[in-house]
């Protein structure tokens, strides 16, 4: 009951939260253009898969369903809750319908030694992730399919149980 009160978007607690957040960030960040641009969050549920092949034979396969939290801030996309998508990405082609992000730079191609790319449909919330990597004689391929929900400028740790996991 109390938890519902605390997490309701229009509760005094949440309103105060947002107000303080805005004030602190505005004061902390020196660059005014950053101060007005708060991070935006997308919370995603779905599955990921990582397959390791050697001489065209699958030798390892791993599957997971950790929730993903995309943090869009400045021209970057950060994700550190789900191990499968962990990392910092740069935003590439973005329009009203899609947000594409890649590891390192937008000129990277799938044939590179390490390639990671995510495409988020901003209208439907569908996120498709793919990666490929070469480590010595091994070839690693990763995929992920998620359904995302826009959270605005806020999130909480409940979907991740992060407080418990970190101890």
């Amino acid at each position: 009951m109390s938890l519902h009160w605390a997490t309701s978007p229009f509760s005094p607690y949440e309103c105060m939260n947002k107000f303080i957040t805005f004030c602190v960030i505005y004061c902390v960040l020196i660059n005014p253009s950053h101060a007005l641009e708060l991070p935006r969050y997308w919370l995603c549920q779905g599955t990921s898969q990582q397959i390791s092949t050697q001489d065209q034979m699958n030798i390892e396969q791993y599957k997971g369903n950790d929730p993903v939290l995309l943090e869009i801030f400045s021209n970057k996309v950060y994700q550190f809750f789900s191990p499968a998508l962990a990392g910092a990405y740069v935003q590439c082609a973005t329009n009203q319908d899609t947000l594409m992000f890649q590891r390192e730079d937008c000129q990277a191609q799938t044939k590179q030694k390490y390639f990671r790319q995510g495409v988020l449909n901003l209208q439907t919330g569908q996120l498709i992730f793919s990666e490929s990597r070469k480590i010595k004689s091994k070839e690693i391929r990763g995929t992920g399919q998620y359904q995302c929900q826009y959270m605005g400028h806020t999130y909480n740790f409940l979907p991740f149980n992060h407080a418990k996991k970190s101890e």
Partner: protein, 425 residues
Amino acid sequence: MQKNQNKSIILIPIVILEFSIILSWVWMMGDFSQIRFGVWPISEWLINYQGGFVRRGFIGEILYQLFPGQALIPKVYQLTFYLYLIYCMIFVCLYRLSKIRDLPLLILMLLIPGGIFHMAISSSFYTRKEILFLILFGLLCFIYLQIKQAQDSKKSTWITIFISLAIVGGVIITLCHEAFIFMSFPYIASLFWLLKKEYPQQKSIHYGFVAFATMIPIVFLLCTMMHGSVLISENIWDSLSLQDRLVISPHSPYTVYGAIGGIGWDKLQNLSTLYGVLVSGGWIIWICFGFVQYLVLGYVFARGASSQSQEDQLENLTLISVPFLLSLSIFLIGSDWGRWMASSGNHFLLLSFVLCSQNKRPIFLSKKIHAWPLSWINHPQLIRARWLFWGIIGYELIFKLPECCVQYPYFFIQYSLFAKLFGSI
């Protein structure tokens, strides 16, 4: 009757200490098939120099070189348990060396959130590299008290040990984790300064102090310049055995994760974790925790120093308040606010042992800090009030400092969890 009561109260700190050590031992030294603490702290111990020199890599590199190709995580469990044991021993030694003879106060110190008992029941805080900071500071406090008690002929030897350990230990620990400069450096500098003032004829202390105050910031700057990159973090990750990577990231062992991934974070990403503390609703809980911890630490100090003159108390209060306030700067840099509170509190307790054990000595400070609410010393009647003591004990036995990411109900002690652990033995 009174004598029997005094005898039985001696047992309480012994039981708390033994319980804490046994619980940690059972948890850390037993079955390694289960993960024993969070993947973030585990992965922080594994940062090494396999991607080139980088901040936080010193211990991970030693582990990597000592056990090449092996799973290192079981070694990390053992290492953290032994470090915890050393810290407990130093804590007890300092209590014995200090002139505090107040067992209820010792009980309160052992039970403080983030302290020895809470470390054991949540397998947190001692599993972080801050345990190294506490051991170094505790050893320096121990040596300081030895200097005070030693005969004149042996003082120089102890002073040399103090200076060498502060400089060499400080440099090595900064290479283990650069946050040493925020969390521990102010406390060590305060102790060093006190030693310098007390023995003005010993020039070695003066030069040692200058060397310490110069070298730690230089090593810190070096670590800041070598803060890491995505490529370095990937190289470190790839250098680990598949067994270790599967423990940290069972669903994607070929993707860098945890604190090793943090080596590749940029400033904006670090800043956004601070933003996360605010928007995730943690701030109100942290403010409550911070305020109560501050009150409890002030109470501990005032009760420990209650036999001193008011002039000494004010001097000592200033000597402990300045490093305490300086150590809070870490709150503006990192988002693991529970860790910062625990570390600052534990350093505070260790320095309290030193300052509360002081005999009458010259007054060095012309200006004093009357920091409220640390200034319980102005209320001697209140600090002896039973309701206040039991109120603090109640707080210590109900609430638990989370390391980070505070959320309901993980700021309450989960007694059922460790009851289950003992039940399963």
